[in-house]
C-alpha cells in the first residue's frame, strides 16, 4: 500500500484549489468462488479488486475519481483533474493520525483452509440435496469468500485501516415433475471465515432447501387478494429493509425524497414496532468494524415504540442535514463514493408467540420465506416476492401457495403491524443502491401485517 507521507502529500494537493475536504480510499480485495453442481466441482474462480478512490468536497459539492493504477504519478494526475472542478484559496490537510485497532476475530481465514477441504464440504452438501428426492434434478452449492483490506484517510486527519472477511454458503435446488420446474434457495452469510460452518446447520439447510423445492411442485398459484400476511422471522425482515430502511437513509432524506422527512419524534408506526440498524453485531454479514469513511460503526436506534428516532447518515449528507454521521457510510468498492447505507437492520423482538399469531389468524397468508424486493423511495411503494408461502385458514397452516408478490406503502405498513413475536432472527442478502452492492442483514421476529395486497396468477379463469 501507499506510504502515509505520500497520502498526506496527495491530500494537500487535493485541497490546493479550495476543496475543504479530501479523502483517499485504498482497497485490495481477494475473492474466491467455488461452485459445485450435483456433486461435481465445476468452477473455482479467483478474483482481485484493487485500486484507489479519491473524493473532494467543497461545501456540498463532491467530485470523485478512481483508478487501479496506484502509481504516485497516476494518483496525482487524478487529484489534479478532480480539483480542477473547484476554485478558491488553498487549504491545509490535518496531519494524519494513528490508525485505531480494528476488530479482527476471524478464526479460519480464506488462506488457512485448502481448496480440497472446502470443495469436499460443498460436494457433500450438494449431494445431500440431490439425494433428498428423485425429483431434485439440480443441486448447486457455492462458497463465496471475500477478504477486503481497506485504508481510508482524509484531510481531517482520519487514517484508518480495516480487514473485512465475508463468507457465504449458497444452496440452490431445482425440482422437476411432469415438465414443471421449481427452485428454492438459501444463502447464509457471516462476517467470518470458514468457521461459518461451525455456526450454521448446513445439513439442515440443505434438507430444507430440497424440501422447499419439492413443496413448490405441489403448491397452487395464489389468487390475488387483500388479506392479513404473517411474515416469518429472519429474511422476512426484508419488508422493513425495503419499506422503511431505505427511506431512512440520508441519501433519500437529505433530498426530501422520503416519506419520513422531518418526522423525527413523530409516530410513524404502531406502538409495538421498535427497530435498529446495528453496524457492529459480532459475526454478522452486515458488519463492519469501521465504516468506509473511517468512522467506528455503532448501534443506531431508528424507531422506538412506533416513534421515529433517527436516520442513517454519512459525512456529506450529515453536512446537508446538519446532523452527525452515524457510522453508516458504505461502498461496494473503491469504484463508488460512499453514502449512507444499512448494516444489520431489524425489528426488535416483541412478546407474542409465533404459534399464537398463526392461531389467531382466521384467514391469511403465511410468508415463510421471502425472496428479494424493491422500493421507490420517492413514492414509498415497495414490492417483495414470497419464495415459500402457505395459506392460513381458521388458525391453521393449510395448503402451500406459490407466485405471491406483496406490494404496499412504507408509511402504511408500519402502522399495520399488529403482532410481533419473540423469535428474532437475521437473514442475509446483497443490497444494491447508489454506492453499489453490499452485504446486509435483514432481521425480525415473526410479525403480522393486518392487510396487504397480494398478487399472484391463481384463481378462477
Amino acid at each position: 500500500m501507499i506510504e502515509k507521507k505520500v497520502l498526506e502529500t496527495l491530500l494537500n494537493e487535493a485541497l490546493k484549489t479550495g476543496a475543504d475536504f479530501a479523502e483517499i480510499f485504498i482497497e485490495d480485495t481477494k475473492s474466491n468462488v467455488i461452485r459445485v453442481t450435483s456433486g461435481d466441482v465445476t468452477s473455482i474462480d479467483r478474483g482481485n479488486t484493487y485500486g484507489a478512490g479519491i473524493r473532494l468536497i467543497q461545501g456540498l459539492d463532491e467530485v470523485y475519481g478512481y483508478t487501479n493504477d496506484m502509481s504516485y504519478e497516476k494518483l496525482l494526475e487524478l487529484v489534479i483533474n478532480l480539483r480542477a472542478s473547484f476554485e478558491g484559496a488553498p487549504k491545509k490537510s490535518v496531519p494524519l493520525g494513528e490508525s485505531k485497532p480494528f476488530t479482527y476475530d476471524i478464526k479460519r481465514p480464506m488462506k488457512s483452509v485448502s481448496i480440497e477441504e472446502k470443495s469436499k464440504k460443498l460436494q457433500d452438501l450438494s449431494l445431500k440435496m440431490k439425494n433428498h428426492d428423485a425429483r431434485i434434478v439440480q443441486a448447486i452449492t457455492q462458497l463465496i469468500e471475500n477478504e477486503q483490506s481497506i485504508l481510508v484517510c482524509n484531510s481531517k486527519g482520519i487514517y484508518q485501516d480495516d480487514v473485512r472477511t465475508y463468507t457465504r454458503a449458497v444452496f440452490m435446488a431445482v425440482a422437476q415433475e411432469n415438465g414443471l420446474m421449481q427452485q428454492a434457495f438459501e444463502g447464509p452469510g457471516r462476517y467470518m471465515g470458514y468457521e461459518i460452518f461451525d455456526v450454521i446447520d448446513a445439513d439442515k439447510i440443505a434438507t430444507d432447501v430440497a424440501t422447499s423445492a419439492i413443496t413448490l411442485l405441489t403448491a397452487e398459484d395464489i389468487e390475488p387478494q387483500n388479506m392479513p400476511v404473517v411474515l416469518h422471522n429472519g429474511f422476512g425482515g426484508v419488508i422493513f429493509h425495503e419499506a422503511c430502511g431505505h427511506p431512512l437513509e440520508a441519501t433519500s432524506v437529505a433530498k426530501g425524497l422520503s416519506p419520513f422527512v422531518g418526522k423525527v419524534g413523530e409516530k410513524i408506526g404502531s406502538d409495538i414496532v421498535t427497530a435498529y440498524d446495528d453496524g457492529d453485531v459480532a459475526g454478522a454479514w452486515g458488519r463492519l468494524s469501521f465504516d468506509d469513511e473511517g468512522m467506528k460503526t455503532q448501534k443506531n436506534l431508528l424507531i422506538e415504540n412506533g416513534v421515529l428516532k433517527g436516520y442513517l447518515i454519512d459525512y456529506r449528507n450529515g453536512i446537508k442535514m446538519g446532523m452527525e454521521p452515524t457510522g453508516s457510510a458504505r461502498r461496494q468498492s473503491y469504484k463508488f463514493s460512499p453514502t449512507s447505507r444499512m448494516n444489520s437492520t431489524y425489528i426488535a423482538p416483541g412478546k407474542d408467540k409465533f404459534e399464537d399469531i398463526i392461531k389467531d389468524t382466521k384467514y391469511g397468508l403465511f410468508a415463510k420465506k421471502l425472496g428479494g424486493g424493491t422500493v421507490v423511495p420517492a413514492t414509498g411503494e415497495f414490492n417483495f416476492a414470497v419464495q415459500e408461502g402457505y395459506m392460513i385458514e381458521d388458525g391453521k397452516l393449510t395448503r402451500p401457495v406459490r407466485g405471491a408478490m406483496l406490494i404496499g406503502h412504507g408509511k402504511d405498513v408500519l402502522f399495520k403491524i399488529d403482532r410481533v413475536a419473540d423469535n428474532l432472527e437475521f437473514g442475509q442478502g446483497m443490497c444494491g443502491s447508489l454506492s453499489g452492492s453490499i452485504p446486509v442483514d435483514v432481521g425480525q421476529p415473526t410479525i403480522r401485517v393486518s392487510s396487504m395486497t397480494v398478487g399472484g396468477s391463481g384463481g378462477k379463469k
Partner: protein
C-alpha cells in the same frame, strides 16, 4: 505486457491460456438543484485470464497488474484448476475464419468540454421543473463510457474492439393532490449531438403527468399490453433460458424443445451482434469467436441454444459467439416488430391494461419455471383508448404460456440500455392483482 504473462503462465505449466483485458474510462455527472451533485471520473483496467491445466479450465480476474500479483494469481489458477473434479471441454480458441467488421465511427465524448455536459443536465433539470406538476427533479445523470477490449492467447489469437457511448436522463417527481409519481426516460447516444435537453425534458414530462391520478383496479384477468421497453426488460431477465449452460445444467425448461414450436407463429426472436441501431456492436465474443446474426426463435420455433466454446463442444454444435462475461449471454437480442402501430394495437381492446412500469424484476421472476409476478403500473385501456392511470397492481403470469398467448406484436421496436429490444406486445389474458 500480455504476451509476457502468457509466457509466464506457460513456464508455470499452464497448457494454454488467454488474456482478456478490458479498459474502461468513464465520466459520470449528476446535477441537482442547478449544481453539480456528482462528478465521477474513472480509468480502470480489469484483466481476466483463462488457463488450462490437466485439461481443466479455471479463471482468475484481477485489477492489480503488478508482476508479483500476476504471478501469484497464475499460481492460484493452477491450484484451482487441479481441484476441479469434473472434466468438461476446456478450449482456448485458435480463432474464427473471419470476423465481421464494425464500421461505426467512434465518437470521442472526451472531446466535448465537461461544462457542456453539465449544462445539458442543468437545462434538462430546469426545463422539467418548468412544468407545474413537477415537485422536484430527484436526480439527473449523464455518463459516457469508453471501453477498449483486448484478447490475446497462446494459440496466436490477437483481437481488439473499441466502443464508446453515453446516456443521460432525469428523474422527475410529479405530484397532484396526495399522489406522487416518478418518471424518467433514458436517452442513449453514440454522439453528443443526439442529446437535446428540450426533447428529453418534454418526454419525461409527458410520461410523468400521465401517470398522475393513478389508482388500483379490481383483481382479475385482463388483456394486457406491455410497452416496448417493459417487454424488453422482461425478455432481458429471461435470457438465461436460451443459454447452452442452462441446458447443460438442467436449468431451463427449453432443454428438449430445440426444433419445436414454443411460441406464437409471429414470435421471432433475433440475436444480432451488428444490429444497425444497437449501442454495442460485437465483432467477436469474450472467447474470440466471431459473432453473427441468428434466430433464437423463428416463426415460434425454438432454433437452438446460445453457446460458448464449452457448451458448443458438449452439444457437438458450433459455438454461436455468445460467450460473454465467463458465461453465455445474447448480444443484441430483440423481438422482431410486427405491422401495427401502438394505437392500432389497442384500438380493438374493449377492456385491458397497458403496462409502462415494472418494479422488482430481480425478485419477481423465476427463470426456470417461467413464472412472474411483478409490481406494475400503467394505464387502463377502455374501448380502444387509454383511460385512467393505474398503479399499485401486481401483474402475474408465466412467460412460456404468455408467448403462446399473444394478441398482437407492435411495430415500435426500441432497445434498452441492457441491449435488449422489443416492440409493444399485447397478451390475450394475464392476471392482475389489485383491489
Amino acid at each position: 505486457m500480455y504476451q509476457s504473462w502468457i509466457l509466464l503462465g506457460k513456464e508455470k505449466g499452464i497448457t494454454d491460456l488467454e488474456v482478456f483485458a478490458v479498459r474502461n474510462k468513464s465520466l459520470k455527472l449528476s446535477v441537482y438543484e442547478g449544481k453539480v451533485d456528482q462528478h465521477v471520473q474513472s480509468d480502470v483496467e480489469v484483466v481476466t485470464i483463462r488457463g488450462i491445466v490437466e485439461n481443466k479450465l479455471s479463471t482468475i480476474r484481477f485489477e492489480n497488474l503488478s508482476q508479483t500479483n500476476v504471478s501469484e494469481m497464475l499460481d492460484q489458477l493452477i491450484l484451482n484448476a487441479k481441484a476441479l473434479t469434473v472434466v468438461e471441454p476446456a478450449i482456448i480458441y485458435e480463432g474464427s475464419k473471419s470476423y465481421p467488421e464494425v464500421k461505426d465511427e467512434l465518437f470521442d465524448f472526451g472531446s466535448v468540454p465537461v461544462i457542456d455536459k453539465i449544462n445539458l443536465l442543468k437545462n434538462l433539470e430546469s426545463k422539467i421543473l418548468e412544468n407545474k406538476k413537477v415537485k422536484q427533479v430527484q436526480s439527473t445523470q449523464y455518463q459516457e463510457i469508453d471501453t477498449e477490449t483486448t484478447l490475446v492467447n497462446s494459440k496466436g489469437l490477437n483481437l481488439s474492439r473499441h466502443n464508446t457511448y453515453a446516456y443521460a436522463y432525469a428523474i422527475g417527481v410529479f405530484a397532484e393532490n396526495e399522489d406522487i409519481q416518478t418518471a424518467y426516460d433514458v436517452k442513449l447516444a453514440k454522439t453528443f449531438d443526439e442529446f437535446d435537453a428540450d426533447k428529453m425534458a418534454q418526454k419525461t414530462i409527458d410520461i410523468g403527468v400521465k401517470k398522475l391520478g393513478g389508482k388500483s383496479i379490481p383483481s382479475g384477468h385482463y388483456k394486457t399490453v406491455f410497452s416496448n421497453e417493459m417487454f424488453a426488460d422482461l425478455l432481458s431477465v429471461f435470457t438465461s433460458i436460451f443459454s447452452g449452460e442452462s441446458a447443460y445444467r438442467n436449468m431451463t425448461s427449453l432443454k428438449d424443445k430445440v426444433g419445436k414450436e414454443i411460441a406464437d407463429k409471429r414470435f421471432n426472436l433475433i440475436d444480432d451482434p451488428l444490429f444497425k441501431d444497437a449501442l454495442f456492436k460485437m465483432p467477436f465474443d469474450d472467447e474470440g469467436v466471431a459473432c453473427s446474426k441468428r434466430y433464437v426463435i423463428e416463426n415460434g420455433v425454438f432454433k437452438g441454444f446460445n453457446h460458448n466454446l464449452k457448451t458448443a463442444a458438449i452439444f457437438k454444435e458450433s459455438p454461436t459467439g455468445n460467450g460473454f462475461h465467463g458465461s453465455i449471454a445474447p448480444t443484441n437480442l430483440y423481438l422482431e416488430p410486427g405491422q401495427k402501430s401502438f394505437d392500432e394495437m389497442i384500438s380493438t381492446i374493449k377492456e385491458g391494461v397497458y403496462i409502462t412500469d415494472l418494479v422488482g424484476l430481480h425478485a419477481g421472476v423465476k427463470q426456470v419455471s417461467g413464472d412472474f409476478s411483478l409490481q406494475a403500473s400503467g394505464f387502463k385501456i377502455k374501448d380502444g383508448k387509454l383511460d385512467h392511470a393505474v398503479k399499485m397492481i401486481v401483474i402475474s403470469g408465466n412467460f412460456f404460456k404468455a408467448i403462446n398467448d399473444i394478441d398482437e406484436i407492435g411495430s415500435d421496436l426500441k432497445f434498452t440500455i441492457q441491449g435488449v429490444g422489443s416492440p409493444s406486445v399485447s397478451f390475450k389474458s394475464l392476471v392482475v392483482g389489485g383491489e
